[in-house]
Symmetry: C2
Subunit: 254 residues, 2 copies
Amino acid sequence: MSKFEEIRKKYLRETREKLSKKDIGGELILQSFKSLKEVEQSINELCTKLREWYGYYYPELEHENKNNEEFVKKVLENPKRKISIGYELFKEKDVKQILIFAEQIQNLFNYKKKLEQYLDILIEESCPNTKVLAGSSITCLMLEQAGSLKNLMEMPSSTIQLLGAEKALFRHLKGEGKSPKFGFLYGHELVKRSKDKGKIAKLLADKISIAIKIDYFKGKFIGDKLRKEIEKKLTTNSKPQTKNHKSNYETYNK
Amino acid sequence: MSKFEEIRKKYLRETREKLSKKDIGGELILQSFKSLKEVEQSINELCTKLREWYGYYYPELEHENKNNEEFVKKVLENPKRKISIGYELFKEKDVKQILIFAEQIQNLFNYKKKLEQYLDILIEESCPNTKVLAGSSITCLMLEQAGSLKNLMEMPSSTIQLLGAEKALFRHLKGEGKSPKFGFLYGHELVKRSKDKGKIAKLLADKISIAIKIDYFKGKFIGDKLRKEIEKKLTTNSKPQTKNHKSNYETYNK
């Protein structure tokens, strides 16, 4: 029995060592990103409640400010009400409680900014190449969809191109609707700017799939090079594109 | 045209005055209660994320602490890890970020307590009689279900008895299942303690419906009297109840 116990302990120790030496860059990005989204959701829901609550006191201000952050800021400035249909029976102490509630939300807004900065640093550390090509938020979204940096690294560029468009893709596979050309990449500035969004998305996905592999295996930083390559292709192709859209697309696909 | 405009302005002014003179005690309780529930939900969801995040660093601690508030406190004490399967590659700065996240949750926990105190004061101000009979949390739940203090005041005691048991009631009305005997009142200490819960719930609902009417019309404080009446009935009836349960119930219904 004691022999089994010894072997068991040995394997436990080895597993623990292996686990503790794994790189956690991807996990940290993913976890911070999830926490950030949770903070954002909490802020939104608390803001809804603040709007209802403050609405009893000074409904006019609530209607004027559609942006949540600005609204909280305005509430905390505690402006004097002019003519308002808000209840005049509001006591000093009741107004104060609304302000304390608004303060909590402002704290969360401030924290959210800090967390975003930290997330940016994490991405810079673990995925510098991908970050230059895809930007922080698209990198996070892709990583979340893939589940881990390793999963994302193993995906072909065609899958990367369609990450985030799963619904449309499966609808297409069932025979309904067109095949999607981009998912999360739709939010990329280059895709937004361009007329032929599908083509740019393909180009980007190609380079991003290279960048992720470099990042995963801790290669050199060549993100700026890859980006320049994309921009070069865009400028050389931009002239015929305006004249003959289709033929240009075929040129690119050769 | 100017005459119409004058009349319109006059009515607008009058409406505004009427609105501003309405009592807002009930609305404030309701609004603070809703905000409190939202704060609690945000805390719970942020705690889930904290557990996941901290789990990478020191999973053993996460498993030991089931209570969220205690868990956050333990995390902030930042205990030295002994043998842990958590990643050893965790840098100082990455651990710090988890602690900052935990701090935000602790702030919300502290705020929650303040808001609870304020809510208690509000109920004491607007519904002193109901508070003594039903307790703060049941008062809030009933008020939320009714929609306003006025609605709750207009309800017969039988409706008050079944507030919070709407599902079971409608199931019963459709011919499925028994009629419920209590809703929110199930959580009342007197109902919890008693064997014949339905009877106590009826007794409580009777007195609560009186208390709410007094509170709504700003009557005197007789909450302690009403409570004593309930307790008296309970003690005088408690002896035969243990011997002959049914006959006792009939005595009460006479």
